[in-house]
Symmetry: C2
Subunit: 354 residues, 2 copies
């Protein structure tokens, strides 16, 4: 592969014009005489000119602004991981004059979400990363963006009627199905099962949870159709209440031996068991929050399923940049791996490189 490196100066020399003119031809910036244009074009046709990426990057004055609309995260939770991935990508893209800003909304607060979406229709942004929530406000925003030709991308949850350049997410149903298979490996005759949930609020987080549950129960109905299953609804904050509910469960159903939590709060159960001295043979939960991980390491929780929130944020930003800055095609759909973590492999786990 004979690939001499030609520069704009080379081309200018070969065509007998100046570098400025070559640049004008290359970028179709007009103000070039037909004669000059032809001479330059002729040279371009003969050689295989590949502009130096570094020089472009260094000289580029153009800058890009990406806005990220997502739930505000709290220390160590799911959304703070997404944010960490976004931050990381932002750092990598800094050289390309890409700046990334966060526009957080309060989870499950429809008025606030609407307001944030509405605010976006007034702001200038070259691209958006959105973790969508309520449907109507989302569609209102995306219609606006579609009209403006502003590219946007969904993470975590996909809104079907919109036209994002890509959706990056998780296959919740499948992860639930896997969860059931893994957990039920430990089933013994007579065991009973408990599922831990949170009260439904119709938010995407709940929808993901529902899908996990559907996958889970599908597996159960295929293999353990007669299994007694109890549902327990835990509160996000009220510890006393949770304590009561769990006490009640274990008092009433002493044969419960397996448990699964479909949100990221399996640590509530883990801590309860540690405090109360009760035991389950095996518990499975979702998301690698520090609290969950420490339950896993102590052996209170047996399995955690991870779906790489950080990588979602990271890929999201990179995909927007590929589209916007590098004009590269972007896959319209990207699922994250379904990672299965146990006490024995958690120490070696990492979501992203480094």
């Amino acid at each position: 592969m004979e690939t001499k490196k030609y520069t704009i100066k080379d081309i200018a020399r070969l065509a007998g014009v100046s570098a400025g003119t070559v640049d004008r031809v290359l970028h179709q910036r007009g103000d070039v005489s037909e004669k000059s244009r032809q001479k330059v074009q002729q040279v371009l046709d003969e050689i295989n000119y590949q502009p130096n990426k570094f020089a472009i990057g260094l000289a580029a004055k153009k800058s890009y602004r990406i806005v990220c609309i997502l739930p505000q995260g709290f220390e160590g939770d799911y959304w703070s991981s997404v944010k960490a991935g976004i931050d990381r990508a932002a750092r990598e893209m800094l050289d390309y004059n890409v700046t990334v800003e966060l526009l957080p909304y309060r989870h499950a607060d429809e008025a606030n979400y609407r307001e944030v979406c509405h605010q976006m229709t007034h702001e200038e942004a070259d691209a958006l990363l959105i973790a969508p929530n309520f449907r109507e406000s989302t569609l209102e925003l995306t219609r606006h963006l579609d009209a403006q030709q502003t590219p946007y991308l969904f993470v975590d949850y996909n809104v079907k009627e919109a036209h994002p350049i890509s959706y990056i997410g998780q296959e919740s149903w499948q992860s639930g199905y896997l969860a059931a298979k893994v957990l039920m490996r430990e089933y013994q005759d007579g065991d009973e099962l408990v599922l831990f949930m949170t009260g439904s609020k119709k938010s995407p987080a709940e929808i993901q949870m529902q899908r996990r549950l559907e996958g889970f129960t599908t597996y159960l109905s295929e293999h353990y159709s007669q299994l007694p299953i109890y549902d327990v609804v835990l509160d996000k904050e009220n510890e006393t209440y949770n304590q009561q509910v769990l006490d009640d469960l274990f008092n009433r159903h002493p044969k419960v031996a397996l448990g699964a939590a479909f949100n990221s709060r399996v640590h509530i159960v883990g801590r309860y068991l540690e405090r109360s001295g009760r035991q389950l043979r095996s518990i499975l939960g979702y998301d690698l929050l520090p609290k969950n991980v420490s339950c896993l390491k102590r052996g209170t929780v047996e399995y955690l399923i991870g779906q790489r929130p950080g990588l979602q944020g990271y890929y999201g930003i990179l995909a927007l940049c590929d589209h916007m800055v590098f004009k590269q095609p972007v896959p319209p759909l990207k699922y994250m791996p379904i990672d299965l973590l146990m006490k024995e492999n958690i120490d070696y786990y990492f979501e992203m490189h480094t």
Copy 2:
């Protein structure tokens, strides 16, 4: 996102020196007074300086040559994955005038390995990535490299007495321990166990295998000390022989229900079972070779453990470049995750980004 871009000029201004001095400190090029060095270092410690890669690429007239000493891989095997990761990193680093060359050796051929190592002491290379094999030749080479101040890095296997800038590998013992726990979840009373091995040759590949086995048997001795275990040694190529050995095993030990292969050739067992119509309740194997993955998808093999060979190669090259080209610190030790794959999550798995 508070990530201001600092340039060398900024640092120079903050430290009260000139850009040239900052550059000298960054590149440890010497000829800097201790006082200046400290002032610059202090600034560097406070800010998060990320050199502009475009400028580096543009200004760099220097070119780098990385040589990779590793076993020659064959279509789809472990080493071909490592190589794929290396190639990928090489492509990314091409713009920085980094070229990567492969110097393959024949697996388990000591004379050949010695020869290759010896050859390296005569060649010019700016950095080496080594998948070490026989100890003496390796140390001979690394002593030479140490003397020349040529940076090198180990992947896959670590040689304790050498001084690589980093070791990137896998925790084989731990993965074996995990393997046992996972597999034994399916144990039922009276089950017997079979372990599939290859003849030992004292090469690092065998050592990794041994460590996996040690981890595995440690778990067994902790939890199932009375379990009947049969060892079967399979041949790499001789299918007829393998058929006989396996026939023999299953005829003699009809209660064998669980199996584990500690090299990447679990597909031999999988295919045998498919052909012969025999069954095991559960088989675990290592490495995501296409043949193994297809057994997993068909359900013949229940678990595969992956240790990201491709990522090892990829990281290896990037780490050498970070050290050599970008003067970034490199973590001296990096373990790969221990991935647990099943039929239900294999479709969503990927080793590296994209």
